[in-house]
Symmetry: C2
Subunit: 205 residues, 2 copies
DNA sequence: CCTGTTGTTGTACGATCGTCCAACAAGCTT
DNA sequence: AAGCTTGTTGGACGATCGTACAACAACAGG
């Protein structure tokens, strides 16, 4: 039998935004632990400590939850990178260096984070709405890079191309660092990226 | 119309290696069309024109088939890149340029090809055997790049790092080109990569 | 033509998937 | 204390998943 004399609530009601966030964070943990293939509605519900039906109640479907999780995780990463840049002080080049260095720090270059990206990427090709979300987030991340480069003296007409280049190099290093952690270190990745920045910022070009 | 009333074979027996390859190619087509989520045993069997049971007969499971497909597609890409390098003639720098240019050519930088990579990447973190396969293929691709760089005069002690850098830049550009085809062009990607090679090969560094 | 080998079929099976919705209960209002 | 709103439950549902296996048939060797 159940239910003793005293009464303990079987569940707690929390406000919609908080519940939504809890589901997103649970989704991120499941993706990190079990990968894209293991991120089912039921597994996420168990992780969040709620019933499976609640996922459908807050999200159109599991794809929408994955998209929201990607946006949230990318937001977290952006915040961490922004903090690293802010802590680097006023020198433009130091800020740029801090950006790339933080991109390979533990917790950012993390195989568990990669799972969220992969789950999201797997939806980009087939779902136009997801592709649009990717375009938007990518161009936002590129805009920040353009600003950092501009502060270092990169002329306006070269900012777009150089931001694409830096973004690609950092992402490529980040990807391999996650996929083959033993092949090279985060320090090496940072060195490579910073050396590349040298060639972009040097005036004799 | 021939061979009428008598008998038409319900299926053809072909030698194991050919059937294996047919299944791999069918898997690649399904991945390209439907993405990682749609690559089920049944869908692949339909695409190959065989019964579902045959997949289990030739592969341990669908993960093994995806891994074999990745190896096969990467082999195809490597062959295309090798041909581009060979057609570039004897000049080392021209060969290196041909390598990066071909990396962004249609059929290589292709959203449909990306699906195979994503399906494979999604298995890397969880499956040690798949991680080992990735390490091997990545180091092989890096070794080729080291050779091309060495021929251009990059000293031995810098080849490893520079190969990692070029590989990351090319892969990062390739990835974004597949995910957001409208953001920048293959020509721009090639320009960025070739300009990066300039900085690596110039002797005053 | 017959026979043996074996590549191939087709289905059955249990597990798990995403979605849905009527019923329930937590907690605020009155 | 009672009522009301609504966040939440939990199971039903059909579809689809990967796998296994006995029966079948294509084809080479006799």
């Amino acid at each position: 039998m159940k239910a003793p004399a005293s009464h303990q609530p079987a569940f707690r009601r929390i406000e919609p935004d908080a519940r939504r966030l809890a589901l997103i964070e649970a989704c991120a943990r499941v993706l990190a632990r079990a990968g894209a293939a293991g991120a089912s509605v039921r597994a996420i519900a168990v992780e969040a400590g709620v019933s499976p039906g609640l996922v459908s109640h807050y999200f159109t479907g599991i794809e929408a939850l994955v998209a929201a999780t990607y946006a949230h995780v990318e937001g977290t990463v952006d915040t961490a990178l922004d903090r690293a840049v802010a802590e680097a002080g006023p020198d433009p080049r130091a800020r740029l260096d801090a950006f790339v260095t933080a991109s390979f720090a533990p917790g950012i270059a993390d195989p568990q984070l990669l799972a969220t990206w992969i789950a999201f990427w797997s939806l980009v090709t087939a779902r136009p709405a997801i592709a649009a979300q990717h375009d938007e987030q990518y161009s936002g991340s590129r805009a920040r890079l353009e600003a950092l480069l501009g502060a270092c003296g990169v002329p306006t007409e070269r900012q777009r191309r150089d931001a694409i280049a830096v973004s690609a190099l950092v992402d490529g290093l980040w990807l391999e660092l996650c996929l083959s952690p033993g092949c090279f270190t985060a320090e090496e990745a940072g060195d490579i990226a910073r050396r590349f920045l040298d060639t972009l910022i040097s005036t004799d070009r």
